[in-house]
């Protein structure tokens, strides 16, 4: 029986909280290098996140949505994709995007308010979606487009528990089920939609079981167990690209996890949740879990762990330097890419902005 075919109320786990393989679980088929890559990606996502929050606090970056606690779900799922597959992110998937090849300085640029951070020319990553759940429909449409064109690719769409309350979540999954598109809907159930708990989003016992209503499989997974996430995500990706078109079906994955920090740097979680809760979830931290497992397996030793830590610190520092060394975008960039050709009114407005700059100089104009 496929892991996906179990009761959507039973959580899939591979590692327990101490990093030991739980009874009856099978470790996914990843070689040592892939295991270390998974570990490194998670370490990098954590360190990047801590530095990004700090940059915001120092006024070097705008509002930023932290991901700490969600590395297992992001990295485990992103590594389950094949090269030809796509990810359709929300706004918190910095780690998943990195695992798909997005440079960290691009992510920083975006959150530093520079549109050039959104330039992802050669990567199968759709632009960040800030409105809630709207990207669920884009993923269904992209997957549907691929199917109509006869391409075999999977489309992994990320959203939070709050998104499952939106009409677009329902419409996206409903369309996907009706038209059998190769989409994997990956819910990062991190327990809180800003300040509103999961229990106030839905009266369903699990989010995974909502898939039943759309006519396809839903599976709940421990989202802080990267090996379990990889396992279910990989099966869902393979199902989306099944050899027999009859077997090609979407999947809903609910990854149960916790965001350790605030919703964004503009949010204060101490207002709506207590420290005990945060501490309870920190015991499930995905990084030490995988680290212990790999240590016990002899894949990691202290020297290697230290080397990984050093290399992620260097990579993040380089990315910050690159992002901050870039000059401000040209003001005329505002007018680019609104339409394929620039309508006359936009040309006139661009000219007007240039005249304003000439007349006053940027310093006076931006005072």
């Amino acid at each position: 029986m496929s892991t996906l075919q179990r009761d959507p109320r039973e959580q899939v786990r591979v590692l327990d909280e101490d990093g030991r393989v739980v009874d009856g679980a099978t470790v996914p088929d990843l070689d040592d290098d892939q295991m270390v890559e998974m570990y490194r990606n998670m370490k990098l996502a954590r360190h990047f996140d801590q530095r990004a929050v700090s940059l915001q606090r120092q006024g070097r970056m705008g509002t930023y949505p932290p991901l700490s606690g969600q590395e297992g779900a992001q990295i485990g799922s992103a590594m389950a994709l094949d090269e030809e597959d796509w990810m359709v992110p929300s706004y918190r998937e910095h780690g998943a995007a990195y695992a798909r090849g997005l440079k960290l300085h691009q992510t920083l640029r975006y959150w530093m308010g520079d549109e050039r951070g959104n330039e992802l020319r050669d990567l199968n990553i759709f632009p960040v979606a800030v409105p809630i759940a709207t990207q669920v429909l884009h993923a269904s449409g992209l997957a549907w487009g691929a199917k109509l064109k006869g391409d075999r690719k999977a489309f992994m769409c990320y959203f939070g528990d709050g998104a499952t309350s939106e009409g677009d979540f329902h419409e996206g999954l409903n369309f996907a089920g009706v038209f059998d598109v190769p989409a994997v809907f990956f819910c990062n159930n991190n327990q809180w939609a800003i300040s509103v708990p999961r229990e106030r989003q839905t009266a369903s016992e699990t989010i995974a079981q909502k898939a039943v209503a759309y006519g396809f499989e839903g599976v709940q997974v421990d989202g802080m167990d990267p090996l379990a996430v990889y396992k279910v995500a990989r099966e869902a990706v393979e199902k989306a690209k099944a050899d027999d078109p009859e077997d090609l079906r979407p999947t809903l994955i609910e990854a149960v996890q916790y965001r350790f920090g605030a919703h964004t740097t503009a949010d204060d979680p101490s207002v709506y949740r207590d420290d005990d809760e945060v501490e309870r979830w920190k015991a499930k931290d995905p990084i030490p879990r995988l680290e212990s497992y790999l240590y016990e397996q002899g894949v990691l030793d202290q020297e290697r762990i230290d080397a990984v830590q050093q290399s992620v610190e260097e990579e993040v520092a380089d990315a910050i330097e690159t992002a901050e060394s870039l000059e401000r975008p040209e003001p005329a960039a505002i007018f680019e890419h609104v339409y394929e050709g620039m309508p006359k009114r936009l040309q006139q407005q661009r000219q007007y902005l240039e005249q304003l700059r000439e007349r006053h100089g940027d310093e006076e104009l931006l005072e």
């Binding site: 549109e115 549907w144 064109k149 419409e171 369309f175 609104v338 394929e340």
Partner: protein, 334 residues
Amino acid sequence: MSQQQQQSTQNLTLVQAVRDGLYGEMERDDDVIVLGEDVGKNGGVFRATQGLYDEFGEKRVIDTPLAESGIVGTSVGMAAYGLKPVAEMQFMGFIYPAFDQIISHAARLRTRSRGRFSCPLVVRAPYGGGIRAPEHHSESKEAFFAHEPGLKVVIPSTPYDTKGLLASAIRDPDPVIFLEPKLIYRAFREEVPDETYTVPIGEAATRREGDDVSVFTWGAMTRPTMEAAEQLAENEGIECDVVDLRTLSPLDDEAILESFKKTGRAVVVHEAPKTGGLAGEITATIQEEALLYQEAPVKRVTGFDTPFPLYALEDYYLPEAARIADGIRETYEF
């Protein structure tokens, strides 16, 4: 007209021209797909997609679940993937669930991806009143969409333009809101070439030439406006320049100003509510660009700032020839 030309045209209503335009573009380009509620086997509630399902099959003419946001949101994804979806909203009054997808995503995809993705999507919707329809079936909300950067807004008023503008909309690399004046879906016929052709987006058409008053209008209001203009010319010697804008975004500023500079007097006619309607934008353009040519205040003849009434009173709501003629006369006599 030569024999050759006669053989290659058909006498079509406006809604038949929609169908003919869709057919031509689907035949021309395999990436064009039509989707919406009841567009397949049923051929659309107005029959605008009649026969397309039989011709092109269920992969290209798709009956969707009843979900406007779903239709447009998935179309955004399909468009980004390289298809050219033509999504039908059954009535413009039901477009609001899709508004977020149109405004937040279709309109911004090119900007947000720095030109990597375009969104070559057409959203078709029958708009406007006058057909004794139930509540929420008569709205004319073009201003919502003309206000949004990244979108184009097109409203044809003749069968010939309908087919040519629809072809342009489908071939356009940017998202186009294509509004069809359902009041005149079947009001008259016009010779329409069998072959595909385009009418450029962004260019107004002068329907009648005159030196006294410029009248700017579009869609279903073009006919009562022409009726008023003909009556005024015949009975009172007032000669109107009637400009059918055809595209509301981008507006054809040159055509507006050229006509206004000739007459110095302007009336704008639309059936949408007055406040925040496109007439205000056209008036402001005239004020900014041609104040010194102005001989009279610009007059707006529009629907009222009320919800569109149930049909017992809709004729009072919609501008018709007598009301339009009053506006023109007032402007002329100022």
